[in-house]
């Protein structure tokens, strides 16, 4: 007797459809699972058996074969167990064959028959919805997340017994739990950080604003106490809120990495700050078995903060170059090739040398300093549109504008960019391709003269010259102007200093 149930498993951060086929026939009692399950999938046999017995469902003492199709794709995790259990019930006639027509099933089982949540429910339900499934049974903990996908009926599962009763029509489907409380407001979410605590530092503020508005990568170099980390930590407080498409993607990524508590769409832009001992796969993504998204993907649509940039492994930093340029990460393995989004703003801090003192009091040897500087390769440094040398402030200054005020300016600059780039493959000034610079960031004759001057006087690469033009575009957007003035270009070149 044969039954088949639709389910899905995670492939990177996307859902991959899986058909769970269960065959029960006469013969010596046996249980075989085929179709490239991982270790968790192979162990599922004992969980399914115990869960069924705990739920007063008879375990068929016959020859059972479970196949996970397509057979060539590696399946990960325990999220197929509910589908296997329901398939067994169909195959042994505990349920009508037709009750699961057009229904997708997701969920892990506990030994007591409870249905446990799965990682990446958002992506899995999305994949099922696209395949034409009309309703999906999901663990109750994933119900809110799953209901973010429009056009598909969500059936909430608490326990295997409950699912059986609901499917056979003996009981109604349980209600989805009460909606979660409102998310905290932006101010609360950012805790006690506010840009008004930063006194003075007008140049650094302007750079931070540009990074938030135009998604320009920002590098700050300076001695300890110059305020680098303080500024960087306040970047999320001035970033524009996520728009609906971005929010869905951020939630999807978070859900795929198993951050379950997000029961509604993400509202905060991600801000990831990995420690400098992070390995290349941790930053970029990868790892053995199912490739996992790295920090660059988790920071997508938000900011990736690398404090003490010079302390990161040089290979890890150089691996950042391609995602910085293309805003996606491609992970290739023998069995599969995956593409993760990596649309992040990089914000990095570094000391000028290992001892970290200002150049006049530095005790490092020439070789040590040179080595430290060489850890940051020129191609990596070149990808920072904004580069600042900060010094510890000497004069006491007035507190500056608050995060809320700065955020207003950023939001309106983002709105200007969204309007300008509507229908184009990029959305922020930093992502303007070189070919489109003249069209979207054209310079007046006067501004062009200043730009030429900056190009001639400095040791700018082609990328550096374009970076100044992009930053000038963002400065004009922040001032709510459509034309770029000579002042914008001057300030943009002042924001790209020769550091470290």
């Amino acid at each position: 007797m044969l039954a088949s149930v639709r389910s899905a498993t995670l492939h990177g951060i996307d859902g991959q459809l899986v058909r769970v086929e269960v065959h029960v026939s006469n013969g010596l009692p046996a249980y075989t699972i085929v179709g490239l399950p991982d270790a968790a999938g192979r162990e599922s046999k004992d969980r399914v058996r115990a869960a069924m017995i705990s739920s007063q469902v008879e375990w068929p003492l016959r020859r059972i074969t479970v196949n996970l199709a397509p057979g060539g794709v590696r399946k990960s995790g325990a999220g197929l167990e509910l589908a296997v259990a329901l398939g067994l019930m169909l195959a042994s006639d505990d349920l009508e064959q037709s009750v699961l027509d057009g229904v997708g099933v997701l969920g892990e089982l506990g030994l007591d028959g409870q249905v446990r949540p799965v990682a990446g429910a958002l992506a899995l339900v999305d994949a099922l919805a696209r395949s034409g499934v009309t309703s999906v049974v999901v663990p109750s903990a994933n119900a809110h997340e799953a209901s973010l996908i429009p056009g598909i009926k969500i059936r909430c599962a608490h326990s295997l017994a409950g699912v059986k009763a609901a499917l056979s029509g003996a009981e109604d489907w349980p209600e989805v739990d009460a909606p979660p409380p409102e998310p905290p407001s932006l101010e609360e979410a950012h805790g006690c950080f506010d840009l008004s605590e930063v006194r003075g530092m007008a140049t650094a503020r302007s750079a931070l604003r540009c990074a938030a508005a135009g998604a320009h990568h920002l590098l700050m170099a300076g001695p300890p106490g110059a305020g680098k980390t303080m500024l960087a930590r306040r970047l999320p407080t001035i970033m524009a809120p996520l728009d609906p498409d971005e929010a869905l993607e951020v939630t999807r990524i978070q859900s795929a990495t198993g951050v379950i508590p997000a029961r509604r769409l993400a509202t905060k832009r991600p801000f990831r700050a990995p420690h400098h001992s992070a390995s290349t796969p941790a930053l970029i993504g990868g790892g053995s078995g199912r490739p996992h998204p790295g920090e660059v993907t988790l920071a997508s649509s938000g900011a990736l903060f690398l404090d003490e940039l010079g302390e990161f492994a040089p290979q890890a930093l150089d691996a950042l170059r391609q995602p910085l340029e293309e805003r996606v990460v491609r992970i290739s393995r023998q069995a599969c090739s995956l593409e993760f989004p990596a649309n992040f703003t990089l914000i990095a801090c570094t000391n000028p040398c290992p001892c970290g003192r200002d150049p006049f009091h530095c005790t490092c040897s020439d070789v040590a300093r040179e080595k430290y500087r060489r850890r940051l390769s020129a191609p990596l440094l070149d990808r920072f549109d904004l580069r600042l040398a900060l010094r510890a402030p000497k004069e006491i200054e007035k507190p500056g504008a608050s995060s809320a005020e700065e955020r207003e300016r950023v939001i309106s600059a983002v709105a200007r960019q969204n309007a300008r780039y509507a229908g184009l493959p990029w959305r922020r000034n930093a992502h303007l391709p070189a070919g489109a610079l003249a069209r979207y960031a054209g310079l007046s004759a006067e501004a062009h003269g200043v730009w030429l001057n900056a190009v001639k006087s400095g040791s700018l690469t082609g990328r550096g010259a374009a970076a100044i033009q992009r930053t000038a575009r963002t400065l004009a957007d922040l001032d709510d102007r459509s034309e770029i003035t000579a002042d914008d270009v001057l300030q943009a070149s002042d924001l790209r200093q020769d550091v470290p």
């Binding site: 003075g200 200002d358 900060l390 300030q491």
Partner: protein, 373 residues
């Protein structure tokens, strides 16, 4: 001096566990290095190291065994291949007057102009983390002195040292680079081309055999050779601690005049120079101070001080904003934020003013700071 003699000297320098003071003792026992080699080869090392109380018998016999292997033939090969010349303290043209056990007994040199040692010599030293002002001052001072036929001695390090060598070379003068490594080692490595030009416009000098690498403890020892080789030592910029001050201390110990260029108390790389002046060094205001210290003029009174500000700032910016920014800088470097605090200009105004100052050559942007020139 014959090549045989130089080979013998090199063989002595290259011996394992040879130190300047042992070398000095050996050359006092055997004034001719060829005799010294013969003596050591026949096991007479004990005459040199016999008095050293820190050595036990085992150590002595180890050293003596090593020194028995003294190899004049390979020494001859090395100095022939590299064109190395050696002098010892018994030579007529030995450049150091004093006899002191802490000073080297043998110096190696390579380069096209050994005659650089025959002229009057001024050492120009300072910090590696020099400011643009310091680099420009060291360069100009070296050029002025080199034009007057004075040899510029320095240490081939980054910052002031490099600027001094370059100033001398560009003025067509002679220069001596004293290094803390073997003569075949370039340190820092980025100075490859500077090493080559110092070799062609003068010589590089070391007390170490070839192949000796840079070690932190070798640099202060090298500084004492710079001081000994110079008739006058000039410190252009130095932080409150660092190698330049050890050169100045060695020069004072040897009785050489030390000059230091004064600077603002707010400038961290002027602190060392200012404290030298407070301790009795002569203030350096222009090249004539060095000439007086060398005793090259009859009068001890210096020429009237030029109006420095008029000399170094030939044109004042015409516009009000430019003047405001120059006043806000006050001769010291400042960041854009600091300029904003000290003027009533807005950010674009400052950016414009700084840009025009840079175009006029009155200021320079370095790592986020604006330096008045």
């Amino acid at each position: 001096m014959t090549t045989e003699r130089e080979s013998a000297l090199y063989a002595l320098v290259a011996l394992p566990r040879m130190t300047p003071s042992r070398l000095q003792r050996a050359l006092h026992i055997w004034p001719d290095p060829i005799d010294a080699v013969k003596g050591l080869a026949s096991g007479a090392a004990i005459k040199v190291i016999g008095d050293e109380r820190r050595l036990n018998d085992e150590g002595r016999s180890q050293i003596a065994a090593g020194w028995r292997m003294v190899d004049v033939l390979s020494a001859a090969r090395v100095i022939k291949r590299n064109g190395t010349r050696l002098r010892c303290l018994h030579d007529d043209d030995w450049p150091i007057e004093e006899e002191d056990t802490t000073l080297p007994a043998v110096l190696l040199n390579e380069g096209d102009r050994p005659c650089a040692l025959a002229a009057q010599r001024v050492a120009i030293v300072g910090t590696r983390a020099a400011s643009p002002h310091g680099v420009a001052d060291a360069h100009a001072l070296a050029a002025t002195l080199a034009e007057a036929g004075i040899t510029i001695v320095s240490g081939l390090a980054l910052g002031i040292d490099a600027a001094a060598h370059r100033g001398a070379i560009e003025a067509g003068g002679q220069t001596i680079g004293v290094v803390a490594t073997g003569l075949d080692v370039t340190y820092p490595r980025s100075h490859q081309s500077l090493y080559a030009s110092v070799r062609s416009r003068g010589i590089i000098v070391s007390e170490h055999p070839h192949g000796v690498g840079p070690r932190p403890e070798r640099f202060p020892v090298r500084n004492r050779i710079i001081a000994a080789l110079a008739d006058v030592v000039v410190v252009v910029e130095a932080a409150s601690r660092g190698g330049a001050l050890s050169t100045a201390a060695a020069a004072t110990a040897l009785g050489r005049p030390v000059l230091a260029q004064p600077g603002s108390t707010r400038n961290p790389v002027a602190a060392g120079c200012n404290s030298l002046i407070a301790d009795g060094a002569l203030p350096l205001l222009d090249a004539s101070d060095v000439v007086i210290a060398l005793g090259m003029t009859s009068g001890s009174r210096r020429a009237p001080i030029r109006n420095l500000s008029a000399a170094t700032k030939p044109t004042l910016p015409a516009d009000n904003a430019g003047r405001q920014v120059m006043r806000a800088l006050g001769g010291e470097p400042a960041s854009l934020d600091e300029i904003a605090l000290r003027t009533n200009l807005d950010a674009p105004g400052i950016a414009r003013a700084v840009e025009s100052l840079c175009t006029l050559g009155l200021a320079k942007r370095v790592r986020g700071l604006i330096w008045p020139l």
